[in-house]
Subunit: 100 residues, 2 copies
């Protein structure tokens, strides 16, 4: 399992529209083979900053399965214009977890 | 529920020791009232980069309950010397999640 992480900086004043469009766009990412779950979280300290967390079966499900899909074109069209700067996306593997 | 997020850059070559000490340090954070769960994940793209994710009942459990505790002194002693630069810690609230 791989966690995709992106810190998203949304143009100021567009947070409400972004959150609405994110909910719509969620149907596209969650339709992809190898997608496990995702969440969007809003930063307490920085009003227009968010974090996107997506669990994938493996990196290929994200980088090939999603990014080369027609669903990605819809995701991109709905969301990419909100970001400034454009986010860096990274992938993480679990080293340790305590889910008590 | 609040997610604490910190991107950790560990001094190169010290990743193995850091991971071991993180496991030891985990007992201190998980003993705090309001702590829910946590994980440490390793970046696929950048060898010495990690992400720490901690779920807390609320921000106070982290900022007061943990940071003013004697457990924090042990956590700090075990881990802080590995970081360069010293990490920025932020808190996030859930806007949307799909845990299918």
């Amino acid at each position: 399992m791989i966690l995709e992480v992106a810190i998203l900086n949304v143009r100021q004043g567009e947070e409400g529209n972004f959150e609405q469009d994110f909910k719509i766009a969620s149907r596209y990412i969650s339709a992809i083979k190898g997608y496990l779950n995702h969440s969007l979280k809003k930063c307490v300290e920085t009003k227009n900053q968010y974090i996107l967390l997506v669990n994938w079966k493996d990196i290929e499900s994200h980088e090939i399965g999603f990014r080369k899909s027609k669903e990605y074109l819809k995701w991109k069209e709905l969301l990419h214009h909100y970001y400034d700067p454009f986010p860096i996306v990274e992938h993480y593997e679990t080293v340790f977890q305590n889910m008590k």
